[in-house]
Structures are given as C-alpha cells and as structure tokens.
C-alpha cells in the first residue's frame, strides 16, 4: 500500500494537517487499514523534501497544514495512470501450499482445498454481512469491502478449478531431487561470481 500516494490524493481535496489526513484516509478505506500518525508525519516530511507537498504557516491551534504542489499533482496523476504490478504483491502462501500439496506424499489435496474453501467462504459471508449492515454504505467503504468480496470469490473459484483439475488429471509423481552434486555446486559457484 502506498501511503505516499494516498496522502497526495487526500491533499488534492485541499490542504490538511497530519491528524486530518489520518482520519480521512481511515474513513476512505472504511477503517480497514489503520494508519500510524508517526507514519503520516514521516511521509509528509519526505513528500516535502521531494517538493511534492509544501508546509503552510501554522494555524491558531498550532497545526501545520500541508498542500499539494504542481509537481505533486503530476506525480499523483502518474500513479493513477499506472497499473499496479503483480510483482509488487507479496507471494501467495496459498498457491505455494497447494503446489506443494499436490506433490507431497500422504497429503489429501481435496481436504486441503475444502478446508480453505470453507475458511474463505466464511470470510466472504462475513464481508457480505458487513456490507448488508448498512443500507447506503459510503462509496469508498463499499468499494473496499467489495474488493475483498471479489478477491475471496476469485480464490474460491480458483480452488474449485484446482479441485476439478486434480480430480481429472490425477496427481503428478514428485520429481526426484537433482542427482548430481556438482550440478548444484556449479550453481553456487555461478552465484558467487
């Protein structure tokens, strides 16, 4: 998650100081990602250093609002214009777990899949319940919740698909470990170089 770009986006609404930015961020994301106030100020300092925002004079209550600069606006526009790269996302433990499950002797893959499906569906039910709790949820909050709902749904569909593929093709024999000791040594040597 980019705190930097989130703050720039919020400042595009108008000048604001740290606490205002924090609460605006949390309300825009339905309090899903609480933001540390220290993190807000550190980020503001960095944005100021890079001339993407500028500090305004302190107000009567001693708070210092920031405003976005033209350079900050261009930077923000660039962020909105570029897609999030898959490589920016962390490795998916579930994918790795299932990839290992199909090749590990004695593991009941269908069982692993079913447990995950139930757990993910339970999450999905709960997200839906949160969504149903408000008749007219704030659009940003709704969007965050629906993103989680669709992700959970995608995961379940992928699990369904994996289950069907495994049932149809059977499980592969695990490949033996590489036999030649010098092979891996060569790799180590290459890495050293």
């Amino acid at each position: 998650m980019s705190v930097k770009h989130s703050l720039l986006a919020l400042l595009e609404r108008g000048p604001a100081y740290g606490y205002q930015l924090r609460s605006a961020f949390e309300s825009a994301t339905g309090n899903t990602w609480p933001l540390n106030i220290g993190q807000v100020y550190t980020t503001l300092n960095r944005l100021e250093r890079d001339a993407l925002v500028e500090a305004m004079p302190e107000n009567d209550s001693g708070q210092r609002p920031y405003r976005i600069t033209d350079s900050g606006r261009r930077h923000l526009a660039g962020w909105f214009a570029s897609p999030v790269q898959a490589a920016d996302r962390p490795r998916d433990e579930l994918t790795i777990k299932l990839a290992l499950a199909v090749t590990t002797p004695g593991v009941d893959v269908a069982d692993v899949i079913q447990r995950q499906r139930t757990a993910t569906l339970r999450l999905l039910q709960e997200y839906t319940r949160l969504k149903a709790a408000e008749d007219q949820p704030e659009l940003a909050w709704r969007l965050v919740l629906e993103s989680m709902i669709f992700r959970a749904e995608a995961e379940i569909r992928w699990l369904d698909h994996t289950e069907a593929v495994v049932a149809r093709t059977g499980r592969p024999e695990p490949r033996p470990f590489p036999q030649h000791a010098d092979e891996s040594e060569t790799e180590v040597l290459q890495e050293k170089r």
Binding site: Q114, L121, L124, Q125
Partner: protein, 239 residues
C-alpha cells in the same frame, strides 16, 4: 419446528450396476429466518436435494419434512396442495407465465388454491410492493419487465400467502452482478422477516448472503460454513 428437514435422505437413480447415488444419507434443517446456500460441483447432488426438498422427487430412503409434515406420507393431491401452500420456487429463468401480468403471476398460487381472484390480486399487489414493484409495474407483462424486475415478481410469487419455504435454483444466473445482488438482498430480507430459504448456487459471492453454506460432493455433505461471530477480527486480517 424446522421449516425444512431432511433426515438421512438417500436418493438412488437407476438400479443394479447402473445405480447412481445422487444423494447419500443427508441431514439438513432449515429454520424460519434462515437462508442456507448449497454449493458443489456439477453432479454433486445440489439439484437432487432441491427437488427432494420441494417434493418434486421422493427419496429412496430417509424422510423429507416440510413444516413437520413428512412429504412421503401425503397422497398426490395433498402433496400438490402442500407444495402450493408452503413452498415457493425461484428459478434462473423466472418461469413467469407470459400471458399473465406481473400481479396475475404473483396471485397465481393463491388462485390455484381457490382464493377469489379479486382478493388474490390485492394480496399480489401488496406482495409486489414488498419487493419494490409499484401498481403500474404490477400491470405489466413479463416481456415488459427487466430481468431484475421479473425475478422480483418470482420472489413475490414464491412467498405470497403463508408460504414460508422458498427454494431458489441459481436465481441470479441470468442477471448482471449488481441486479443479481439486489435479488439476493431481497431474498435475504424475506428470510430475515421469517421465511426459510434454500439457495442453490455455484457463485460464492451469492452464497455469501447465506447464514450457512453447505458443500456437497458426490452426493454427500462434506462441510458447512457459518460466519464467524466477530466481524472485527476479519478486518484486522485484511490489513
């Protein structure tokens, strides 16, 4: 008393070497106010379960009870009457009678049950209003309604009168995702108001509206899920 109860229900199609166990020793209870979703791959027994619950098919062994009555104990005529009075159906393709208006469609189960047309029509308009359709829309024919409106009519029809059990088979299959969600919300609301719902779906997002999700595989219940008690813990997990 559960609105729907399946006790050790098994349904075998064919016999001898050709026997196929469509559903095996299945127990299920649905109480008033509850929406239960059934999920599972094709051929897992979802449709069989729905047909048995609706009295459209009879179990090979075990019993199906609707509001305490064992369906197998009824003769054909009584079973038809119970289906008319207690069970409503919602299908993917709405199944509205094209030559009847929305209100006439919704009134149909009452009229078939012997209620005077005028009274049935008044109740139908009230039922349509509950699903968000006004008198003008009630006078339209199915082909003059959008998919979402047609499915609302089907839900009004399914729950008109004293009927408390609604069986829904992929009810959002023909609708776009936002309209489909509105239909699900409506079904959810009708259950919150005291109906019992059984929803067959392959769509996890729609199953998310249920209180419980039952998974079927090869004719058996393999798992079931109910939401966690504490919603807050989830959001922590999403960070």
């Amino acid at each position: 008393m559960s609105v729907l109860q399946l006790q050790g229900v098994t349904r075998v199609h064919g016999d001898g070497d050709n026997a196929v166990n469509a559903l095996i020793d299945t127990d299920l209870r649905i109480e008033a106010g509850e929406l239960v979703a059934i999920m599972g791959p094709s051929g897992s027994g979802k449709s069989t379960l729905l047909n048995l619950a609706g009295g459209l098919d009879a179990p090979t062994s075990g019993a199906v009870l609707v509001e305490g009555t064992i369906l197998a104990s009824l003769n054909k005529k009584k079973l038809a009457a119970l289906r008319r009075r207690s069970i409503g159906y919602v299908f993917q393709d709405y199944n509205l009678v094209p030559s009847l208006t929305a209100a006439e469609n919704a009134a149909l189960p009452l009229e078939l049950d012997g209620m005077a047309a005028g009274k049935a029509r008044t109740l139908a308009h009230a039922a349509l209003e509950e699903v968000g359709l006004d008198a003008k829309q009630g006078d339209r024919f199915p082909d003059e309604l959008s998919g979402g409106q047609a499915q609302r009519v089907a839900i009004a029809r399914a729950l008109i009168g004293d009927r408390r059990l609604v069986l829904a088979d992929e009810p959002t299959g023909a609708l776009d995702s936002v309209t489909g969600e509105e239909v699900l919300k409506l079904l959810r609301r009708r259950c919150d108001e005291g109906a019992a719902g059984l929803l067959v779906t392959h769509d996890a997002r729609h199953a998310g509206w249920a209180d419980r999700v039952v998974f079927l595989r090869d004719g058996r219940v393999v798992d079931s899920s109910a939401p966690l008690a504490d919603a807050e813990t989830l959001l922590e997990g999403a960070q």
